[in-house]
């Protein structure tokens, strides 16, 4: 239904001069984006650049303060997700919104069922759609029984079932293995062939290169430009995104690993639901090496790290630090024995958000000289420590050492944690998703620091969901799947495909 008047008819969605202000920040400042019919349009920007806000406006979750939205040549006011659906706009959220003990069909028709449920018929339609787009979804499977990649397809089906023409994908590959990512790209292309249009929100340049036609870049809420993906390099797009030249490669020289620092022997750990999250896991980490632990989210990484740091009880097996059995030691003692930890969740674990920066920077050492004497805090020493870390690690905070950490940006919070943990001069550093949610500049910085730690002779266990990060930093890669160590590989003798396969639980030498 193209009822165009003056604007070019090929644009199915036009967002013109969109402005959105939240208290204290301009999230979107005069952003224009045009989605052509039948294209995959990437929306590129760092975390916090305003991508999600822009798409939330298109999906009706926010109202713009200025600017207009034109759908199929007609100016529209999108009052909410239902209005967006009615206009043929659908969104696959980063965190799926599915009911786990419902079947795929039940999830798909949820919210649009008529008074008398006709699940049978609905299942048939779901099957039709699934075949038409090559999604391969079983209409009767329960969500809790299917893989994350499959759940994502259910979300896609949900949109198609509602006759969506414009599909918005919000960071869709964050939860996928490399194989699943490749599958998703194939699905996207099929969708385009069937006449759909796609907006792909991402900060991964490789994906844009692989699948997108055009790319709109925004930075700090401002429109930077729209480019034809074919005609630009990844480096150019990165520069547009960050605003300066950056190096995507990590410089790292080969090093001989030294003696064993961390030794994990046949470790088994239960998760909160009392099922085995880590089972019979053994791994050694040596001085001067970075071991990367690769795995799909939720395969026991969290529990493993919590067991190593003393935050979770061990069911079986033991942990040695420098040859000493620390399996039963409390967290505080482990820190004293030379273990440092960049936690997965910096706001829940890593920081006391309502404390000042300087207090957070002595959170493990506030009892020790020179920070305390006879039970009294020594403010001068605490301040000095903070100022040193702020300078050495380029932590930026409004009021310096006295800033309340809650008011700092995620990147600076993370830099503060990295600085604090390095200042412990640990034997072993557990770095869990050290760059999660950070901008490219901070990522580059933290990566450099991690390599420095390794070169200084520390042992590093790097846990990350970003395979690229693991590949570029690690000396060896350990792959975990369902709580088991699937394999330990030399980084030079493997590739993304092999690791991706192993992440699904298929060991080296086996076939799928």
């Amino acid at each position: 239904m193209i009822t165009s008047n003056q604007q070019s008819p090929e644009n199915i969605v036009e967002m013109r001069s969109i402005r959105k202000v939240f208290p204290g920040i301009v999230a979107n400042d005069d952003i224009t984006m045009e989605l052509r019919k039948g294209e995959i349009h990437a929306l590129l920007g760092e975390n916090g650049a305003g991508k999600s806000t822009l798409m939330s406006i298109l999906f009706g979750l926010y109202q713009p303060d200025a600017g207009e939205i034109v759908i199929r040549g007609k100016k529209e006011r999108i009052s909410g997700p239902n209005a967006a659906n009615a206009l043929g706009i659908g969104m696959v959220h980063q965190h799926f919104k599915l009911v786990h003990n419902f079947t795929t069909t039940e999830n798909i028709i949820l919210g649009m069922e008529s008074p008398f449920l006709d699940v049978k018929n609905a299942a048939k339609r779901v099957k039709e759609f699934s075949e038409m787009y090559g999604l391969n979804v079983d209409p009767h499977a329960k969500i809790e029984d299917i893989s994350v990649g499959m759940q994502q397809r259910v979300e896609i089906l949900k949109m198609l079932y509602r006759n969506a023409e414009v599909l918005i994908f919000d960071e869709p590959t964050a939860v996928l293995t490399p194989q699943e990512t490749a599958e998703l790209m194939k699905i996207m292309r099929t969708l385009i062939e069937q006449g759909k249009s796609i907006v792909l929100i991402t900060h991964k340049l490789k994906e844009i290169k692989a699948v997108a036609d055009r790319c709109t870049v925004i930075r700090r809420g401002k429109y930077i430009g729209t480019v034809n993906v074919e005609s630009v390099t990844e480096e150019t797009m990165a520069e547009m995104m960050v605003g300066r030249q950056i190096s995507l490669k990590v410089d790292k020289e080969a090093r001989e690993p030294g003696e064993t620092v961390l030794s994990v022997k046949n470790l088994s750990v239960l998760n909160a639901r009392k099922t085995l999250a880590v089972s019979d896991f053994s791994l050694d980490v040596h001085k001067g090496e970075i071991i990367g632990l690769a795995g799909v989210d939720g395969n026991g990484q969290t529990e493993l790290v919590e067991a190593l740091t003393g935050l979770r009880n061990v069911q079986n097996g033991s942990v040695f630090l420098n040859g000493k059995d620390i399996t039963d030691d409390k967290t505080g003692k482990r820190i004293k024995s030379g273990m440092a930890h960049i936690p997965e969740d910096r706001q829940r674990r890593g920081l006391i958000l309502d404390f000042t920066l300087e207090d957070n920077l002595v959170i493990e050492r506030y009892r020790d000289e020179p920070f305390a004497k006879r039970g009294l805090l020594q403010r001068d020493a605490i301040r000095q420590n903070a100022e040193q870390i702020i300078e050495n690690f380029d932590v930026r905070a409004g009021e310096g050492a006295k800033s309340i950490v809650r008011s700092m940006s995620g990147g600076n919070q993370q830099k503060a944690i990295v600085g604090r943990e390095m200042e412990l001069h640990p034997q072993l550093l557990l770095a869990v998703q050290p760059t999660r949610g950070l901008d490219v500049g901070s990522i580059e910085y933290i990566h450099k620091r991690l390599v420095q730690i390794r070169d200084a002779g520390y042992a590093v266990l790097l846990v990350s969901l970003e395979l690229d990060e693991i590949m570029s930093l690690s000396d060896k890669i350990a792959v975990i799947s369902h709580g088991k160590l699937v394999g330990l590989l030399d980084v030079d003798k493997t590739d993304e495909n092999e690791i991706g396969l192993m992440m699904t639980g298929i060991g080296k030498g086996e076939t799928a």
Binding site: V21, F22, P23, G24, I25, V26, A27, D29, N47, G48, A49, G50, K51, S52, T53, S56, L61, Q94, H95, D170, E171, R220, G221, T309, G310, L311, K330, T331, G332, K333, R334, I335, K336, H341, P343, D345, R346, Q347, R348, R349, G350, L351, I352, L353, D354, F355, D359, I363, E364, Y366, R367, A372, G375, L376, L377, S409, G410, R436, G437
Partner: protein, 366 residues
């Protein structure tokens, strides 16, 4: 600094709203609110003796308020100040009545007895929380009733006033009381006692503990973010027990100032309202020792003046309690009030150009 100002304004607004609601109630009951408030505050302040009584009432409230505020700063909700106060009072009373000692030994001993009694009463729900994850709200409420009945049994069986009067305990005589002659004389015979000094010293000690010591650092970090404290190797369970012990001790001190200072005996079947008032005072005082002292004095004046108001104007004394209740409501909904202030502030300030995107409100870290 700006943030603190805003919080103080919130508290003042809560007080204003409480007084306004009280005025409306006085109007509805057919009286003159101006005369009512005039007499309410006159009742608390008109003579040096009345000022003394207001301060004597404030003394207990400072200590229960500190107890709640301290627990709150460490992430715990101490609903049990009433029970801790009872046990503190009982420990002190029993010591005073059964152990003969000269005054200069007696006074420190009854204070210590109250401190220890309250501390034990606070520590028990602390242990229950640390060991079995029993919510401290439930734990402390239960301990209130246990204390209530223990006091009743003790007063009736062990320390009744006489064979015939078993609903109150044997009176505390001059030697054992916290009232001292020179103070009573200055305030021309009021109930004021050295408990006031205990309360002020306690406030200073708690301020020091929270802000200057490693222990305070530890307790506060557990209070703000238990998981973060755990991560940093701080013994969280020990902190919980310790915090509840200290909070209990403070409420125990409230007991000695009330039962051996303001009063001179203990009654059966009374759960002292100061325990719950402590929650309001702590909220209104923003959880800081100085704020608690100021709020407690304000509450003390109203408590001391309410009967005077009633006698002068026929306004029921319950109006004063209603005002306190409304203040609690508004102090508790402080967040709402703060939003209102923000909103009004924003309208007054012109739209200043703001730039720089910090964090996307949606997405990013969950």
């Amino acid at each position: 600094m700006k943030k603190i100002d805003k919080r103080v304004i919130t508290s003042l607004m809560a007080v204003a709203a409480g007084l306004l609601a009280g005025a409306i109630l006085i109007l509805i009951s057919g009286h003159d609110p101006v005369a009512g408030y005039y007499n309410l505050f006159r009742g608390g302040l008109i003579t040096i003796q009345r000022i003394g009584n207001s301060l004597a009432l404030s003394t207990t409230l400072i200590l229960t308020g500190l107890s709640v505020a301290f627990a709150f700063r460490t992430g715990l909700f101490n609903i049990g100040a009433a029970g801790q106060m009872l046990i503190g009072g009982l420990s002190a009373t029993v010591f005073a009545l059964f152990v003969p000692a000269p005054r200069f030994v007696m006074i420190p001993c009854v204070i210590l007895a109250a401190l220890l009694g309250g501390a034990v009463w606070g520590a028990i729900p602390g242990f229950l929380k640390a060991l079995f994850n029993v919510n401290e709200v439930v734990g402390t409420i239960m301990m209130n009733w246990i204390a209530y009945w223990i006091v009743s049994v003790f007063v009736r069986t062990t320390i009744p006033e006489s064979e015939y009067v078993t609903t109150v305990s044997r009176p505390i005589t001059g030697d054992m009381s916290l009232r001292v002659g020179w103070l009573t004389n200055i305030f021309s015979g009021s109930f004021i006692n050295i408990g006031l000094f205990i309360a002020v010293i306690a406030a200073i000690v708690i301020h020091f503990l929270l802000n200057k010591t490693t222990l305070g650092f530890e307790l506060k970090s557990v209070g703000f973010n238990r998981h973060g404290a755990e991560y940093a190797g701080i013994p969280v369970n020990r902190s919980i027990v310790l915090a509840m012990t200290i909070a209990g001790g403070l409420a125990g001190l409230a007991g000695v100032t009330f039962y051996l200072g303001y009063q001179h005996n203990m009654q059966v079947n009374v759960l002292p309202p100061q325990g719950y008032d402590g929650i309001a005072i702590s909220l209104l005082g923003l959880g800081t020792p100085a704020g608690v002292v100021i709020s407690a004095i304000f509450f003390g004046i109203m408590q001391a003046g309410k009967n005077f108001m009633s006698a002068q104007t026929q306004i029921p004394p319950e109006i004063a309690d209603t005002i306190i209740a409304v203040i609690i409501y508004f102090a508790a909904t402080a967040i709402l009030m703060r939003r209102l202030i923000d909103y009004l502030g924003k309208r007054r300030r012109d739209k200043k150009p703001i730039d720089i995107v910090k964090d996307e409100p949606k997405g990013g870290e969950s």
